[in-house]
């Protein structure tokens, strides 16, 4: 018989991922970059939102995209047309990005470009409403998308994603006339668990609401630059 010992750890199950995320964020902070983690179910319109965002903002902000996709390079190809660096990360069978995968993307950015030139890194996560919510990648804000075709009850069924979000975009609102959906009900369901989240209704097809989203991005990016200047002065 050998003696059994007991080690009380009390550490988070995601401890290693969290350390990696903090490490990534420290890199971003050093370079004066703000990073958003963009999450939704597949087909809610993450890539379309990024397309519109790159067109509208890449003249005033220096943007790079880290693109998570399970097996293909299709989304990355779509975004490269806009003339910004797009770093593709194939997650293989993993249904979410973790901080280590994103660290690989950051090192590539560091290797191929001058990272201090950038203002904003947009991480497009794998389409999934469950796991990405638990895995921080080093972002400063979480942006979640919910398309109105998904139904009013999704925030209740996938609460962690909507509870963690700093900004929630209700997408495809141009389809509202064809659906039996109450957008105010979606908002009320989200506010049950996240009363202070910024909720913006948009359509990337008609452009409705996008200016509000661009302003939100600008505000967050500018606030980050000011912090970074203070950081550099001291």
């Amino acid at each position: 018989m050998h003696q059994t010992f007991d080690a009380v750890l009390g550490i988070n199950l995601l401890h290693v991922n969290q350390q990696g995320a903090d490490h990534n964020r420290a890199h971003f902070d050093k370079w004066g970059i703000i990073c958003f983690n963009i999450m939704s179910s597949p087909g809610a319109g993450k890539t379309a939102l990024l397309e519109r965002t790159l067109v509208a903002l890449s003249h005033e902000l220096k943007i790079a995209v880290i693109e998570g996709d399970m097996t293909t390079d299709l989304d990355a190809e779509r975004l490269r047309k806009y003339g910004v660096p797009v770093i593709a990360i194939n997650t293989g069978r993993s249904c979410h990005l973790d901080s280590k995968m994103v660290a690989g993307g950051i090192h590539q950015l560091e290797h191929e470009y001058n990272p201090s030139d950038f203002d904003l890194v947009l991480v497009e996560n794998v389409g999934n409403l469950v796991c990405p919510a638990e895995f921080e990648v080093g972002e400063h804000a979480k942006v979640a998308l919910l398309s109105i075709t998904e139904g009013e009850d999704k925030p209740l069924k996938y609460p962690i994603m909507f509870q963690e979000a700093d900004c929630l975009l209700i997408t495809k609102i141009d389809l509202a006339p064809y659906l039996d959906i109450d957008i105010s009900r979606i908002e009320a369901n989200i506010r049950q668990m996240n009363p202070n989240v910024e909720i913006i209704s948009v359509s990337t097809k008609t452009g409705e609401g996008l200016e509000v989203w661009f302003d939100w991005v600008r505000r967050r990016a500018t606030a980050s630059q000011e912090t970074s200047q203070v950081f550099q002065q001291h």
Binding site: M1, H2, Q3, T4, F5, D6, A7, V8, L9, G10, I11, N12, L13, L14, H15, V16, N17, D98, V130, C131, A133, E134, F135, L156, K157, P159, I160, R191, Q192, M193, N194, P195
Partner: protein, 115 residues
């Protein structure tokens, strides 16, 4: 998630000078997380095969979702999937007292001292 768990345990194991044999890993998993205990249990068995955790059993203790309503000054049990706001006054769920845990509570281990 299983990979994340194994990595965190491995981190601890590698910090131990004598690399003990782990017999039990005790987890505390809240109901308000993205972890499904049965799936985690299964994935753990599969993914630890032929590793340093091969003989380790995973023990998962679940904790309920409990929120505190500031207005009513009392705790309540939100109904996951249905209703998160306070059943008395409808205030949003802001203060979560239990249910978000994803914790490796403790590890039971032994040294192969009888060789």
């Amino acid at each position: 998630m299983t990979k994340a768990l194994i990595l965190s345990v491995k981190d601890w194991w590698e910090s131990q000078p004598e690399r003990p044999e782990i017999s039990q890993v005790h987890l505390i998993v809240g109901k308000f997380t993205c972890v499904e205990p049965a799936s985690l249990q299964f994935a753990f068995e599969v993914q630890t095969h032929n590793t340093f955790l091969e003989k380790a059993k995973l023990n998962i203790q679940e904790t309920p979702l409990i929120a505190f309503c500031d207005r009513c000054q009392q705790e309540y049990l939100p109904q996951i999937g249905l209703q998160y706001s306070c059943p008395e006054c409808n205030s949003p769920m802001e203060d979560i007292r239990s249910g978000r845990e994803l914790k490796i509570d403790r590890i039971e281990y032994a040294y192969a001292s009888n060789i």
